[in-house]
């Protein structure tokens, strides 16, 4: 069952769309914000509320980078591996984060603090290499800057 606040927030978005099912992606973001990730149960709840099959929701959820079908840490690091960042030493940054946190891409630190994921482009090409932590962009990365940035997220 969706909670009252989840339902209220989803309902507020319905007016923006021509069809109820068009609100599905937004609804999944809302529920993810409340629950941290999208469990099978969460998809079933949203599907029942919007009249959309769970298959269709899961199809969208597994397509979208920002929708998580597995539990994630308190903070999610999305590191860009697209062309500009790749040229500007993405691999070095990736390896640095991995070494610092002791996890590879797709993994979560044992203390549940960070989940480390790749992303295809953050539209920060002029500040490559770049990453996003939660809702914050961080560009012009260096190993030192990365250490400093990560320290800000408890």
């Amino acid at each position: 069952m969706l909670t009252d606040s989840e339902r209220t927030e989803i309902e507020a978005t319905l007016a923006h769309y021509p069809h109820r099912r068009s609100a599905a992606s937004g609804a999944m973001r809302i529920v993810q914000r409340h629950r941290g990730f999208l469990s099978d149960e969460a998809l079933a709840d949203i599907g029942a509320f919007l009249g959309v099959s769970v298959e269709e929701l899961d199809s969208r959820a597994t397509f979208a980078n920002m929708l998580f079908r597995h539990p994630v840490g308190r903070h999610v690091i999305l590191i860009c591996d697209s062309d500009c960042c790749y040229v500007m030493a993405y691999e070095q940054m990736r390896d640095h984060i991995s070494a610092r946190l002791g996890i590879g891409l797709g993994q979560t630190t044992p203390d549940g603090r960070f989940t480390f994921l790749p992303i295809v482009c953050l539209a920060q090409c002029d500040h490559a290499p770049a990453m996003q932590v939660d809702d914050d962009f961080h560009g012009d990365l260096t190993p030192e800057r990365i250490d400093e940035i990560l320290a800000r997220y408890e």
Binding site: H19, S53, V54, E55, E56, D58, S59, T62, F63
Partner: protein, 926 residues
Amino acid sequence: MATVAITIEGVPHEVDDRRNLLDICLSLGYDVPYFCWHPAMGSIGACRQCAVKLFWDDDQQGEIVMSCLTRPRAGNRVAISDPEALRFRAAVIELLMTSHPHDCPVCDEGGECHLQDMTVMTGHVYRRYAFDKRTFENYDLGPFVTHEMNRCIQCYRCLRFYVDYAGGHDFAAFGLRNEVYFGRLRDGALDSEFSGNLVEVCPVGVFDDKTFAAHYTRKWDLQTGPTVCPFCGRGCNTIAGARYGELRRVLNRFNGDVNGYFLCDRGRFAYESVNGPERVRRPLVGLSGLSASELVRGLGARLESALGERRVAVGARPRVARPRPVGIGSPRASLEANFALKRLVGDDRFFLGLADGEHTLVERAVALLRAGPSPTPSLRDIEAADLVIVLGEDLTNTAPMLDLSVRRWARLRPTADEERLGIARWNDAGIGMVKKEEPSALWIAATQAGKLDEIAAETFHGAPDDLARFTLALVAALDPKALRRPPKGLNAGAARTVARFAAALRAAERPVVISGVSSGSLPLLEASAALARALPGAPPAGAAPLALVVPEVNTLGLMLLGGERLSEAFRLAVAGDVEVTLVIENDLYRRAPAAQVTAFLRACGTAIVVDHVTTATTAAAAAVLPAASWAETTGTFVSHEGRAQRSIPALAPPRPVQPTWRWLSALAAAARLPVGQDWLTLDDVLDELARERPDLAPAALAAPPADARFVAMKIPRQPTRYSGRTAMHADVSVFDAAPPDDRDTPMSFSMEGYREQPPAALIARYQAPRWNSVQALNKFQEEIGGPLRGGDPGVRLIEPPAAPGPPPPVPTAPPAFRPASDRLLAVPLHHIYGSEELSMLSPPVAGRAPEPYLALSPGDAARWGGREGAPLPVLLHGAEKLHLSLPLRIVASLPEGVAGLPVGLPRQPFLDLPAELEIDHESRHV
């Protein structure tokens, strides 16, 4: 439309600019590789495989375009074999193949794989990708379809068919990039009634036929025949394939007027009864050790003595001095078998073998179809409609392919918006977007909710009589003068619904009405015909086409042939007027109450049953003669549309099994009858049919006669590469066995014969140079999606009268349904898996069937104190009183006072519905 002049490969062509270049090239016989485009589903441009070089005017550089998404313009030059286009296509397939497992030797698709064909055609022969392939886990998709996702090339055809066209919900594409996954959320049988089409729609081996896998044979080792699906009245065209005397699979056979490119899962997966333990393979008699010929001699003598009186009485007054034989026909037997029986026993002693209620309804349906004034709609007519109204039929379960046809129509029906926006018919994504915003043009009135409801504009639910009243109210709304007394007393809600339906109907220019006999309601049947007459239609008829669903493969043919009621045979027998009874391919226990059938079989003298499966009737017979199954016999079947179609067997029946009409001929000879002895081939029977019944003479034209030859040759059922011919009987004899003779068709059970394209009715497989998959069908059509070369097979036996007679009187509305305080009205519920007799002998289909149940509305369930799933004892007041105890299923859409009972399920008594039903309090409290 405009015809534009273009060149393709330097050759000038005049082409239709509404079509796309891929379609045009394929229609003209050029080979262009493709994956995601499908002739029935149009273009989405996902796979990039159909790239060609396009030159505009005097341009010398040219551009690479996706031919499936490009309309021709005057002056275009198309180069398929341009070196750059060739390189592009080779690169595309190399990328598509990076993760393909190359497991062709163990893949069921091997030898008929579109990916194999396209890879060879494109010239990609050497693998350069040296990295790990992505691998997936697969799901168990139920008894019909296998799943092997590693083979996937992400063309999206499965998703487009299953979700967009067939309306399935339990299927999706998951993930992204090179890890897109097509399947369900978890293990479980695919819910769609059309899932088997994935086998043909998938261009690789991701989805294959699980029933076929259980006795797998390569396509080149299959002996195939052009059959007609025997499992409902729609008459879909199928290709049945056999090896080692066993039927191994069923595929679609294109017929643009009937089933197009698709089949339902019952039609595809229900063939096991041909191989099953229920088959009658030798004569069965009380006395053992009797050979077939001895038995026929004995039975013939019996028949002769029973008929003796009649032969003596020829020319004398037709007075029955002593009991005579009767013949009971069957809606699942061919027109020829039924006709042969009718000839043997005489017109007045031939009984149709339909349940009484059904006899009445089908008789009326034939009269309504004959009266017209519009011809019954073919698949093409339905696809051209701008509105479809379905009355009282749960199409998903009574004529499943009509359900799919309506769904495809709903997605593709032509509308003004597309014209205005210039969206081509083949632009699948574009059409999909437009249709999403358009109101539905499907309107349904039915007893209870069905699967099609979700794409309907509106659905009206009511008891059968209320559906008839509703339909007549629509007639009155459309034409106030049509009814002398329009139905009164519709409540305000129903009246508003009528107004909305009527408004839509009034605006329609090309409506189609679909109704039928499944609801068991004569008033509804007649009201449906009245509605069709009140609606506009194409001249000269000027009325809407009316499709009437009938239950079995030859129900309509049987009724066109004509005969007496089954109950009349019962009456004659019990009166002592029957000496010998011949029953063909019919289990009478499915047609009448058991007590009546048993009394009949006791009183009917010697009961001789000719059938291919054992039934309760064969068990009670004095003698059973083994008939050829539908896959082993040539015969003509008349679909609900009135289309006579020839089914030509895939395999020869093993001795002594033979077609029913041949047993009847043998009995006629043994009884020294004046008829039947000269029937040597099916054409002899058809000739006699044409002489006796000129109205049915066109049935002979459903396929070329047996003596037709093609460059002095027959058409082979086996492909050129058919292997093991000299070895497969080596355990019986080391000498090469001669192929069985086929005296009834111009086809042979061998590899030798005419290798060019046969006439449409004789196509037993789709294969063409460079095209080994089912996609080779493109080469057999006049143009893509168009009819087969020479016209789609089948001959219509019911055409509207040239001079329309007076319209049948518009029926008067039955009184409104008022549920009695202590009674419910039990109506029949149909199940795609369960209600048909032969298909339930196939374990994969039987496994999907429901157990018997009683459906009640929530209100009635509460009133009678029933809980979901708990058994409820009931008393059914049909032709006989019947005590049943059935688990309750609460169906929200059922009207109050109406109970639903599934019909046709095995091990369930004959249910004479509609009938009154009461909850059996006494046995409840015991």
